[in-house]
Structures are given as structure tokens and as C-alpha cells.
């Protein structure tokens, strides 16, 4: 056992900033991270045990107990539930005879819940030993358990044909479908690797930044910061080494566009990273990918190797003296908050994914305290097209405030869930027509995931774009027969509660209090005061450090704003206020112990 851990430690040069990689390898090799290996890692890296433990215990996919020879992580996102996940969950529990969070007594199978795995267009889905299983049914659950008991390897358990496109390739072999429904200028098929780099090396870094500025492109992760300006800051920042990060953490429930880009257009993405590196003067790029996409690792590594072989990565790229740039892949281990750029950097340094205080911003002091530019996957793909076709061309697409195209991840109650590349400026009604959803059947659309907003039919004429409805690209369509508060809002609140890093008092405590208020209302015990409390308490979260904390009340606040009647229908009529204290409930336990009957 010791030798295995020793080999892993040496593979990463006993560098404590590579702790994530070390732990991921240990987890994969042993199925969990045993205490004695934690101690060994601590000793070898010159850390204390609690130092290592604080990283391990932060991430969802690290376990300190055995997780079984086969570990099933079944997605519990709102859309998974909409698509019948509960029946699948019940089937797994019945067949295995265990509950979620448990391992079968023989140590064969562990069953766990996990937040959105980026497969909303093909739910219910699960990750079993790093392989993705999509479109599950109770019958499939039964089959999978049978296959496990027969000792089949995960790769032999698929009964579906492989998915489309690169999902069929030898290095992926996955049943995942891309579901690309609409191709635009970014996803177009005609791109040849190296095209943009050949043009790039004839430009100065300043000219590149100028083109990107001219395009008016804004970051596609959701925050919408102007990309050219970020690069200019990065270029002007002082540091002996600079880094480009590609944020492929894609954790916002309902978004999966980056999954499709990583599968189908990785060359485009890597080329975007090279361009960014050239523009700001970085020599290293780090692609930070969520652990859920580990099934793409071999594919991505091989594309990187091809780029190195063709000298599109490496030293003196395409003969340009002094233009050195390479890319490494950093996997996460299950933490939504790591999609926040400074948390992502902390995680890549081997630490807990806790967002940093700003200032300083990552462009001044980021990875290993060096100037670091973090861009979204889609942003980096789009800059390749800006270099090829010019900033003016890009600017001619979309609207004044929102130039270019946007990849939308559309899921929920519609005929054609999948990825759509559209120019900015579509209304929600247009989108509903596009995806095969009848707007009279649609009750609501969740725009931008749980941290975004849920809007009703009276707002379906609103336009997608920074000037009106900004979005990182996730749209969840919710039909008339869904129970918004139970199916959507409660699920999203549980998500935020689980995913808080726990550092800010506001975000650690308030969402639970709000969720409890919601439960009280759902249980028909709510009063008018509860609705007012929700509005007031929700404001406290605005004082949190990062975007996760600041938006953690959005599911409740935005549904209360746009679907207030759903709350009002459920509260007790003619009761403005209650003290929130239930005497019979409070004495229940002591009555049970003493055998007394409460005299209330």
C-alpha cells in the first residue's frame, strides 16, 4: 500500500501545490484516501495531517472511507428529478439493499448522490467509476446492478451504442451524446488546428489585444467582464511568470456547453489558450476541468500531445523565437464554488476551493501569486475566431452591448434539449420555438441556473443579452405540470447549502434558514411574516465574499418575486404571525424518554 502512495508522491515531485493531483490519484488507486496515506502525504510534503485533511474533506469526490469497488454517483439535480431520477434511485436502493451514502456490506458497491454532472440533456445520469451512464431507467439500474454482481468491468456494462461524434472515438468510448442542435461561427466545422496560430505569430501581442478589444467580447462564464480589458491588465501586470487558466469547472446546474466543446472542439480551445498566452506573455496554461468530466482525460491529453508534436505548443512555437507556451490539465474533485476564478486558483494550488478576498485580483496576483488570467472555455474558443476574422467581424454579430454568439445549454421540458449556438438578441419566446416547447405549456424558464432567475410567461419576450437577461448559458424549461417550489426551488436551495465553502458566516448560515422557511411554507405551516422574513434575510447574503454567496438566495428570492402567488397560496390565511415555537414538538423527545403524555 505504502509503495503506491510513494510512487504517486514522486510522480508530482513531492510538490505540495500539486496536492489535488496527488489526492485524485490516491483516490482512484485505493477507492478512498486512507488515514495512513493522509499521514504519509503530510509527512512527505512537510505539512500537518490537518493541512492535508482540510483539502480532502472539502471535495465531494474525495472519500475517507471505502467507496466500494464500484461507486455509483447518481445525479440529483432538478432536471434529473424532472426526468425520473427518483424511480432510478429507488431501483438502485432496492437492488443493492442500501441507502445513499452507504456501501454494500461486501464492499462491492457504494451508492452516492451528486450535484449536476453536466448531463442535463440526457438525464437521469450517473457516474460509475468515472464513466458516465445516461438516460437511466429503473430497468437499466437493475441491469447495472446485475452486471456489477457478475463482475463485469464498467466498460462492458453499456448496452447503448456509443454517443455521437468524438464520443465514439477510442479514447472516449462513451454513451454521452453531444446534442449539438445549432452550429454558429464558433462551433463551425471548418476549423483547422493551427490556422489561428499561423496568423497570430505575425501579429504583436498588443495587436491581438486590440482586436479582442475591438470585438467588444465579454467573458462567457456569466460575469461578463470585457475580455480585451482583462488581457490588457494581464499584459501590463508585473511578474516573473504569468499564467492563463481556462475555467472548465462548469458547475452551474443546467449548463453543459463546455462538455461539448471539450469533446468536439478541444483544438479550438487549446488554440484560444495559446492566443491568450501570447497576448499577455504567459508561458503556461492550465485547463481546470471539473472531476465529472474525467472521462475526457485521455482524449484531451492526446490532443495536447498532437499539438506539441506539431509545435503548436512547446518552445519557439512555429519558429517564433521566444514564444514558449504549454498547457497542463488540472482536475477538480467536486466543488461548485471552484468555478469562481479565485477559488479555482486556490484549488489548483492544492488547497480548499475558498474564494480569495479582492483586491488583489488574479490578474495582479493569482496562481502561485503570479499574474493570472482566467477565461471561460467559450471565451477562449471565440477569441480564435476574432484572430482569424477580426474584431470588426465579431462585433457585427449580436447586439451593441452583447456582441458575438452565445452557446446555450437548454434542458428541461422541451423536445430538443442540447447545445445551441445563437447570436445574442433572441427572446425567450424565440428560444422556446427553437427547442420545441410550446410556450402555452411552459410555466417558467430558469435562466442562468440556480444563481440566475426564474421567469414567468409575462417575461418571455425578454431578450437574452447583457442589456436585458444576462446568462452564462443555461436555460431550464419548466412546464405547467411542475411544482416550482418543491421541484425546483427546494432543490436549488439544497444545492447552494451543500456547495458553500463555509468561510463567510453569511453564506454558511443564511441559506439553511431560508430553506427552513420554505419548508415551513411547503408544509402549510407558513404565515405572512415568513414571506417578509425571506425577503429581509435574503439581503444579508449580499455581504458575502463571492458570487456563490451573493446569489445563494436567488432561487427563493426570484421565485418569490415572479411567482409570489405560489407562496401566498400555501401560507395560513388569517394568520399574520406566529412565534415559530411549537411546544408539543419541543417536549416530544423528553416525553418519549419519560413516558409522559404532554398536558398541553
Amino acid at each position: 500500500m505504502k509503495t503506491g502512495a510513494q510512487r504517486i508522491l514522486e510522480k508530482y515531485g513531492k510538490d505540495k501545490t500539486r496536492l489535488m493531483d496527488i489526492l485524485i490519484d490516491v483516490q482512484n488507486e485505493f477507492g478512498f484516501i486512507p488515514r495512513e496515506i493522509t499521514v504519509q502525504i503530510a509527512d512527505e510534503l512537510g505539512m500537518s495531517e490537518v493541512d492535508v485533511d482540510q483539502t480532502i474533506s472539502f471535495y465531494h469526490f474525495f472519500s475517507q472511507k471505502p467507496t466500494g469497488k464500484y461507486h455509483i454517483y447518481l445525479n440529483n439535480s432538478a432536471v434529473a428529478n424532472m426526468m425520473g431520477r427518483n424511480d432510478v434511485a429507488a431501483a438502485f436502493m432496492k437492488e443493492l439493499g442500501i441507502k445513499f451514502g452507504e456501501v454494500t456490506p461486501d464492499g462491492l458497491v457504494g451508492l452516492f448522490e451528486t450535484a449536476c454532472i453536466g448531463m442535463n440533456d440526457q438525464e437521469p445520469a450517473a457516474i460509475i467509476n468515472n464513466q458516465i451512464f445516461t438516460r437511466l431507467t429503473p430497468f437499466r439500474a437493475k441491469e447495472i446492478v446485475r452486471d456489477i454482481r457478475e463482475g463485469k468491468s464498467v466498460n462492458d456494462m453499456f448496452v447503448q451504442d456509443w454517443g455521437d461524434g468524438e464520443n465514439r472515438s477510442d479514447l472516449i468510448k462513451s454513451v454521452v451524446s453531444n446534442n449539438i442542435r445549432k452550429i454558429g461561427p464558433v462551433l463551425e466545422r471548418t476549423f483547422t488546428a493551427g490556422q489561428a496560430i499561423d496568423k497570430l505569430i505575425k501579429m504583436t501581442p498588443e495587436q491581438v489585444i486590440e482586436e479582442v478589444k475591438k470585438s467588444n467580447m465579454r467573458g462567457r462564464g456569466g460575469a461578463g467582464f470585457p475580455t480585451g480589458l482583462k488581457w490588457e491588465f494581464g499584459r501590463n501586470a508585473k511578474g516573473e511568470k504569468k499564467y492563463i487558466f481556462c475555467n472548465a469547472d462548469e458547475g452551474e446546474p443546467g449548463t453543459f456547453k463546455d462538455r461539448v466543446i471539450l469533446t468536439e472542439r478541444p483544438r479550438l480551445l487549446f488554440e484560444g489558450m495559446v492566443i491568450a498566452g501570447y497576448a499577455i506573455g504567459a508561458t503556461e496554461g492550465i485547463l481546470y476541468i471539473r472531476h465529472e468530466y474525467k472521462y475526457l482525460q485521455a482524449h484531451l491529453e492526446s490532443i495536447l500531445q498532437m499539438a506539441r508534436d506539431a509545435n503548436y505548443l512547446g518552445k519557439n512555437i512555429q519558429g517564433k523565437k521566444g514564444f514558449n507556451f504549454d498547457i497542463r490539465i488540472q482536475f477538480g474533485a467536486g466543488a461548485y464554488v471552484c468555478g469562481e476564478e479565485s477559488a479555482l486558483i486556490e484549488s489548483a494550488e492544492g488547497k480548499r476551493g475558498e474564494p480569495r478576498d479582492r483586491p488583489p485580483f488574479p490578474v495582479e496576483k493569482g496562481y502561485l501569486d503570479m499574474p493570472t488570467v482566467v477565461n471561460n472555455v467559450e471565451t477562449l474558443c471565440a477569441v480564435v475566431k476574432v484572430v482569424l476574422n477580426g474584431g470588426e467581424w465579431y462585433k457585427s454579430l449580436g447586439t451593441t452591448e452583447s456582441t458575438g454568439t452565445k452557446l446555450l445549454s437548454i434542458s428541461g421540458d422541451c423536445k430538443f434539449p442540447g447545445v445551441y449556438e445563437v447570436v445574442w438578441g433572441f427572446s425567450i419566446n424565440d428560444i422556446l420555438d427553437m427547442v420545441g416547447a410550446h410556450s402555452e405549456d411552459v410555466q417558467a424558464v430558469q435562466v442562468g441556473g440556480p444563481s440566475g432567475a426564474i421567469i414567468g410567461r409575462n417575461e418571455f419576450n425578454r431578450i437574452l443579452g447583457y442589456e436585458d437577461l444576462a446568462t452564462g448559458g443555461s436555460l431550464i424549461i419548466i412546464s405547467k405540470h411542475r411544482d416550482i417550489l418543491n421541484d425546483i426551488v427546494l432543490n436549488f436551495m439544497d444545492f447552494f447549502i451543500d456547495e458553500s465553502c463555509g468561510s463567510c458566516s453569511t453564506c454558511r448560515i443564511t441559506p439553511t434558514l431560508l430553506r427552513n422557511k420554505l419548508l415551513k411554507i411547503l408544509n402549510a405551516r407558513g404565515v405572512k411574516q415568513d414571506i417578509e422574513d425571506i425577503v429581509e434575510w435574503g439581503k444579508i447574503l449580499k455581504a458575502s465574499r463571492c458570487g456563490l454567496g451573493q446569489t445563494a438566495a436567488n432561487p427563493i428570492l426570484s421565485s418569490l418575486k415572479n411567482f409570489r402567488h405560489l407562496y401566498e397560496e400555501k401560507i395560513q390565511k388569517n394568520k399574520e404571525y406566529d412565534c415559530g415555537f411549537d411546544l408539543s414538538l419541543a417536549v416530544k423527545e423528553s416525553c418519549q424518554v419519560t413516558g409522559r403524555v404532554p398536558n398541553i
Binding site: 482540510q54 463567510c504 458566516s505
Partner: protein, 237 residues
Amino acid sequence: MSQFVRFTIDGTECMASRGQYLVDAARENGVFIPTLCNYPGVKPKGSCRICTVKVNGKLMTACTTPVAEGMNIENESADINELRKSIIELLFVEGNHFCPACEKSGNCELQALAYRFRMMVPRFPFQFPNRAVDASHPRIIKDHNRCILCKRCIRVITDESGRSIFAYRKRSASVEVVVDPKLGKQLTEDLAQKAMDVCPVGSILVKEKGFHVPIGERKYDKVPIGSDIENMQSTKI
């Protein structure tokens, strides 16, 4: 560039050295900005959020934000004070705080802030979490019931080679501050005392020592927290 910058706090003109954090800059001008997780000499972390102010209309933590020329800071407004009071109440309902039975009563910063902000009963329901007391270390007791997860002990108390003795474990509402099994056992008497002093509440206590200073004669028993800073102003004028 000048060494000094001018800025305002609640409309009053102030001056401080460039780059100082807002809490320190305010203190030098006789203005108290309440803090809990902040501790002199270690990198600020901005985790309790008590020191939240509005800088040019935007919510920022004063312990982590460097002062800059021309900043307009809102510190004592009704909104900000209400926010701070709710944060104090959040911390009270999150844990199990029974002041009368606590060794830190009178020296506790959370308690002192609750008095200063006139907290009577928290507006939030008590969570009554089921938390443990870890008395397994020879010199200290770590009472998780009273921990407000401010990270002061984590940031201040390390061994000679910089290894953590205290650290966070887990995340979200389950996060807790734990003591390293090995290093916790080797804690010196001085470091144990320092850990207790660094803790703003009564979550880290030195064993076999208690109530040396009687209740009634403790730090915040006679004067409210922050009054030393505010009195400094009156002497200056």
C-alpha cells in the same frame, strides 16, 4: 505618489497611509469598525463579514480592503448597522452559546458586539446543532459549540515550520475547526495560552485554569467594545 491618502468615513474627512486596510485606517482616525475574524499581524480573511462597509456604494469588508485616495466609506448607517446586527445574530443561532456558563464571558468579542449592537433575542430560530467538545489534547479544550469559524487560530497558531495546528474540516454548514492529532498533543504551554487568547469566543480553553479574573472585572464588563478607539478620538480633539 504621496504616502498619505484622503478619504471620508460617514462624511468625515480622514487621512491615512496609502495601502493600509480600512479597519486600521479608520482606527487611526478614531473610528471603530467592528471586527471578529480580523487579528493584528496575520493576513486578513474577511470571513465573519462583520466589518462590511460600503465603499463608494459597494459592500466591501474593511479588514481586507486597502484604503485608496478619495474613497467614500459608509460605516455607521442604519443599513450597515442592521446588517452587522444580523450577522451577530446569525453567529449566535448557528452555535450553542450560553454566556453565563462560559469562561470567556466578559472577554468574549461576540458577546461584547452583541451588547454593542443591542441584540436582545436573535430574529432567527436557534439551530441547536449537535456539536462535540474535544478534550483529547493535554493542554487545551476545543469546544465546537462555541466556535464561530473565524479562522483566527488557524492563521495565528502554527508550529515552527509553519504547519497548521488548527484547520478547517469539511465545508458548508458542516465546516468545523479541528486540532491536529499529533501537533495538538505537542502544544506548548505558551502556545496553548496564545490559542485561547486569539480565540474571540470561548471555543479554545486552556485546561485546569478558569475564572482567574472574576466576572465583572473583565475586558468588556465595564466599557463597550470599540470604546478605546472612539475615546482616542476625544483625546485627540
